[in-house]
C-alpha cells in the first residue's frame, strides 16, 4: 500500500495545434472503497494555464490553496499574469522546499504561453512529487493509471491536432486507460485551452 495510491486518480495533458488539453478522472476513494464521483483535481491558475494535482487528496486541497496564494502574490507584485513556464518553476520550487517530507502529489500543467510576436505557443509539463520538471513536446501523464495512460496515449496521439480532434484524442485516451485501473475512473473532466476560449466538458464513464 503506497500513500500515492491511497485516494486514486489520474491526470493527462496533451499538446495540439495552437491548443492544449488537460483531463482527469473524478474518483475519490479510500483505497478500494469509492467515496465520491465528483472530486475535482484540475484547477485554473490563470485564463490560459491549468494545473492537475493527482495524488493524496488532502495534499490536492493543500497545494491548490498554496498555489493560489503564491500566484496571487506573483500577480500583485509583477502586475501581470503568470506565464506557464514561470508557473511550472513555481510548482517545482514549492515541491522541492518539502524535499525531505514531500506533498504526495505529481502535478501536471497545461497552458498557452505568449510569444514575443504576440502569438501563443502550447506548453505542457509535469513534475514528480519533489518537483523534478519534465517538459514534454507531446503528452504528460500522472496518477494511478499513468502506466496505462502512457500506452494508450502513445498509440492515439499525433502532432498538430485541432481543438476538437485533440478533445476526442485526450478523452478516448483517458477513458480507456482508467477502465484498466481500479483506482481511477467514475467519470472524467476535460479542458481544452485555445487562444480565444476554453472548452470544458464532463464525460460519463464506467461506474465499476
Amino acid at each position: 500500500m503506497s500513500i500515492m495510491e491511497y485516494n486514486g486518480g489520474s491526470v493527462i495533458a496533451m499538446v495540439g495545434k495552437d491548443c492544449v488539453a488537460i483531463a482527469s478522472d473524478l474518483r475519490l476513494g479510500s483505497q478500494a472503497l469509492g467515496i465520491s464521483s465528483n472530486f475535482q483535481r484540475i484547477f485554473p491558475v490563470t485564463d490560459r494555464v491549468y494545473v492537475g494535482l493527482p495524488g493524496l487528496a488532502t495534499d490536492v486541497t493543500t497545494l491548490r490553496e498554496r498555489f493560489r496564494y503564491r500566484v496571487n502574490m506573483y500577480t500583485i507584485k509583477e502586475e501581470r499574469e503568470i506565464e506557464p513556464e514561470t508557473f511550472a518553476h513555481l510548482v517545482s520550487s514549492t515541491l522541492y522546499q518539502h524535499r525531505f517530507g514531500p506533498y504526495f502529489i505529481e502535478p501536471v500543467m497545461a497552458g498557452l504561453s505568449k510569444t514575443p510576436s504576440g502569438g501563443f505557443k502550447p506548453f505542457i509539463a509535469a513534475t514528480d512529487l519533489i518537483g523534478c520538471l519534465n517538459f514534454a513536446k507531446d503528452f504528460v501523464v500522472a496518477g494511478t493509471a499513468s502506466a496505462k495512460l502512457f500506452g494508450v496515449a502513445e498509440g492515439l496521439w499525433e502532432p498538430d491536432l485541432e481543438a476538437e480532434d485533440l478533445f476526442e484524442t485526450i478523452s478516448q485516451t483517458l477513458l480507456n486507460a482508467v477502465d484498466r485501473d481500479a483506482y481511477s475512473g467514475w467519470g472524467a473532466i476535460v479542458h481544452v485551452i485555445t487562444k480565444d476560449k476554453i472548452i470544458t466538458r464532463t464525460l460519463k464513464g464506467r461506474m465499476d
Binding site: N7, G34, I35, A57, T61, T62, G101
Partner: protein
C-alpha cells in the same frame, strides 16, 4: 466498529452515529452522543482515536461559537468545512495529529441548500450527497448508491437510513447497537427517534 452515516434530501441533512463507547473488547457506554451541534444549522458526527475525537470536536465547537459571537452570523457549512479541514491538515505532519473522521452536515440559510461534507483524519474534504465512516461504510454506501434520492422527503430519507442501519446490524461481525439520529433543515436541528 464505530459507524456513522449521513445523507441529504429535499432541504435537509440526516446525520446518524452509533452510541457505543468501546475500549479494547469492552463496551464502556451505550448512550454516548457522537454528534455535536456546532451552530443552529450545523451538525458534526465524529469518530476515530478515543481522546482525540472529543478533544478535537470541542475545539471545533468552541471556535465556531467564537466566530458567531464575534461576527453575529455563524459560518456557513462550506466555510466551516474549510476551517475544520485546515485544523486537521495543519497538524497532519506534526507529532500531535488528530486522528478524527468527521461528517459535517449543515443547512445553508443563505442559499437554502443542504450541504454534507465527508472529512477524514488526513484533512480530505469532499462534498457528497451521502457518506459514511467506519466499517459500516462498506455496507451502507452500496445501499445508498441504490436507494438515495436527493429529492426524497424526510420520511423517505429516514427509511433509507433505517435500511443502512439494519444491514450493518445484520452483516457486520459486531452489531454497533443503538444510533443517535439528528436532522438539520431550515428550522434548525432536532433529534429523531428511529
Amino acid at each position: 466498529m464505530e459507524t456513522s452515516f449521513a445523507l441529504t434530501g429535499k432541504g435537509y441533512v440526516i446525520v446518524a452515529a452509533d452510541t457505543t463507547a468501546i475500549r479494547s473488547i469492552v463496551k464502556m457506554q451505550i448512550d454516548q452522543d457522537k454528534i455535536k451541534e456546532l451552530s443552529p444549522h450545523l451538525l458534526m458526527a465524529y469518530s476515530g482515536e478515543p481522546g482525540d475525537t472529543v478533544q478535537f470536536a470541542e475545539y471545533v465547537e468552541r471556535n465556531i461559537r467564537l466566530y458567531q459571537i464575534r461576527n453575529l452570523y455563524p459560518l456557513r457549512p462550506a466555510a466551516a468545512a474549510s476551517w475544520i479541514r485546515r485544523s486537521i491538515a495543519e497538524t497532519l505532519r506534526t507529532r500531535n495529529a488528530y486522528s478524527v473522521n468527521l461528517l459535517l452536515g449543515g443547512y445553508d440559510t443563505s442559499s437554502h441548500t443542504p450541504n454534507l461534507y465527508w472529512i477524514d483524519y488526513m484533512g480530505t474534504v469532499v462534498e457528497v450527497p451521502f457518506a459514511a465512516h467506519g466499517y459500516g461504510s462498506y455496507f451502507a454506501l452500496s445501499l445508498l448508491d441504490r436507494y438515495h434520492d436527493p429529492e426524497a422527503s424526510l420520511e423517505e430519507g429516514l427509511a433509507t437510513l433505517k435500511r443502512c442501519i439494519d444491514e450493518v446490524s445484520k452483516r457486520l461481525v459486531v452489531d454497533p447497537g443503538k444510533y443517535k439520529v439528528k436532522v438539520v433543515d431550515k428550522d434548525g436541528i432536532r433529534e429523531v427517534e428511529i
